[in-house]
């Protein structure tokens, strides 16, 4: 794992710097929103990482409930923490983007409210862990909440279609009446967005490995202390 961290650290930093240069110097300024549209290159990839991180929580929570291996819980907990940080950034960057485009930082719109709900569910996930003293019980309860929390993501994604919202419809691809999926924006804007998503996913995997390594060492240390006190 330490080897992968060493590989992913420079790779993610370099790819994010490269994307930053491309976004500010190589992409055209969008005609309707102007320069403020550059926020999209940070906001949308952060959304994708949030979805990925909580999907990892969902998958590893199911694995934990099935196998009861503490390793699965460590991965779920680590990914939940990173997902929560990205989710907070999605809400903040979205609010800042909202001010110049909608004229307000916040509206109780379906997309924004369900995203806030996701953030609050995972805040509850960490409260639950900190309030439950017994490790096995904390892991079990957190796994159940992690699975339930993930179910909010399809609702967030579909909210712009199910309800009338101020938030724009799907950013990447739109489905035509013929059923064909077509890019929702010109290629000059879509390509840097997709590359930034890739770079941010690399950065997520770097953070995940770093966090898992920290969690493992903490767990080993706790076991050593417990054994030392017991024996």
């Amino acid at each position: 794992m330490a080897r992968w961290i060493k590989i992913l650290e420079p790779l993610s930093i370099l790819s994010l710097i490269g994307c930053g240069i491309w976004i500010f110097y190589g992409t055209p300024i969008e005609s309707e929103m102007g320069f403020v549209q550059k926020i999209m290159y940070l906001h949308v990839p952060s959304v994708i990482v949030t979805y990925t991180a909580f999907f990892v929580v969902f998958a590893f929570s199911i694995a934990y409930l099935w196998k009861r291996d503490i390793m699965f819980d460590q991965v779920a907990k680590s990914s939940a923490e990173i997902g929560e940080v990205f989710c907070a950034l999605v809400l903040i960057t979205g609010a800042i983007w909202g001010k110049p485009t909608w004229g307000t930082y916040w509206v109780w719109d379906a997309r924004l409210t369900t995203t806030l709900l996701l953030f609050l569910i995972f805040a509850g996930y960490f409260l639950l862990r900190s309030f439950t003293k017994e490790r096995e019980r904390a892991a079990r309860l957190a796994a159940v909440l992690g699975i339930i929390g993930f179910l909010d993501i399809p609702i967030i994604h579909k909210s712009v279609e199910w309800w009338r919202t101020l938030h724009q419809p799907t950013t990447l691809f739109k489905v035509e009446a013929t059923g064909e999926a077509k890019p929702a924006m010109p290629m000059e804007l879509l390509l840097p967005l997709l590359v930034t998503m890739g770079a941010m996913l690399i950065f997520y995997f770097y953070l995940l490995l770093l966090r898992i390594q920290t969690e493992k060492q903490y767990h080993t240390l706790q076991e050593l202390i417990a054994n030392n006190e017991g024996g």
């Binding site: 950034l89 903040i92 960057t93 800042i96 950065f203 953070l207 060492q217 240390l221």
Partner: protein
């Protein structure tokens, strides 16, 4: 069309500072745990 530079740079600034702090804290935590584990091993031997 207004440039709205302040919104863009605030957004990128917040994102950057968050992760610089997150990585810094996580690396420090990892180093502390590694050192503590090493101390435990040394005490054993």
């Amino acid at each position: 069309m207004p440039m709205n530079l302040e919104y863009v740079f605030t957004t990128y600034g917040i994102w950057l500072v968050t992760f610089i702090l997150y990585v810094f804290i996580m690396r420090r935590k990892l180093k502390t745990y590694n050192d503590a584990l090493e101390n435990f091993e040394q005490k054993k031997t």
